[in-house]
Amino acid sequence: MLNAAENWMTSTWINHVVLGYAWTWPTLETLHFLGLSLLMGTLIIMDLRLIGFQRIIPLTAVHSLMPVAIFAFSINLITGLGFIFGDPRLYSGNWSFWAKMILVLLAGLNFVVYYFAVEPKLKKLEPMAATPAIAKAVGVASLLFWSGVLSFGRLLPYLGTGGG
């Protein structure tokens, strides 16, 4: 099944755009780095407030950073898919890539918990209030998961051996 997916990816126009021009891959990488910087920057602010630091930030302002974080993640999702479609075999056989993907998934689940279980609670609190335990847990988990994503992503060429 993995093989069929790889063959399909390499037959698409995306593959041709990514591999067909010398500048595509470096451009995608640059955007991926910009996206990760913006994502980490906004996450540090939101998560540290959720954990309980910097209570001068109103809880509603935490939520106002979320669109920026989602935008940054979208940049990385799109450019990341570009890499995978460009050279699927480089990633499919690399355990570091799968570790990264599992952590992205866990970070996503953590966001779902934030959205449905934490954010409604925060709305009922005073702007400068201390945060409940579940908010602190979600903040810590987010920083850990995304740090793992960054680490396994950056170490990908050194840790696993891709099929490429």
Partner: protein, 164 residues
């Protein structure tokens, strides 16, 4: 060059962990410094107006930790091929001045100086600014800061493609 002969250079260059460790730390430092600087810049340009200026100014304190990480990891990476890749790189006519890397360094320091100026300005004056508008001069500096970091990351990424 003597830097390339040091024990540190040798360890980063040839141990299994040295180079991957430094390159990963460098990605973390970048994300922290650039991400938090961009967040302040965007706030000064009018985004997420519920976020107090003072809070983002405090987060620049965290950003400097990222800058420190990158100064150290970047210096370690620099020792490995300081003259043979970074300051100069192999070209058609022997070693040529590396405009890409030296340009990156110039912009990194320009970005850092701008961050320091913005941090000082916000710290001193932001109490008198309305939440939705800052002086045009400050907006201009914030926009310049974004440009500095975007170009620095672009040239930094391109450095990986040089002198290979």
């Amino acid at each position: 060059m003597w830097l390339e002969e040091t024990g540190l250079a040798d360890w980063v260059r040839s141990s299994p962990a040295g180079y991957p460790l430094m390159i990963t730390l460098h990605a973390f430092g970048m994300a922290i410094m650039v991400g938090l600087a961009l967040a302040l810049d965007m706030r000064l340009l009018g985004w997420f107006s519920g976020m107090p200026y003072a809070a983002l100014q405090r987060f620049l304190g965290v950003a400097w930790i990222g800058f420190g990480i990158n100064f150290i990891s970047g210096s370690a990476l620099f020792t490995t091929q300081s003259a043979s890749k970074y300051v100069f790189q192999p070209g058609i006519n022997g070693l040529e001045f590396n405009w890409v890397f030296m340009g990156k360094m110039t912009l990194v320091f320009a970005g850092a100086i701008m961050a320091a100026i913005l941090q000082t300005t916000v710290n001193r004056d932001s109490a008198t600014w309305p939440p939705t508008s800052v002086p045009a001069k400050v907006k201009f500096m914030a926009a310049l800061s974004i440009v500095f970091w975007l170009v620095a990351i672009t040239l930094g990424r391109l450095t990986a493609y040089l002198g290979a």
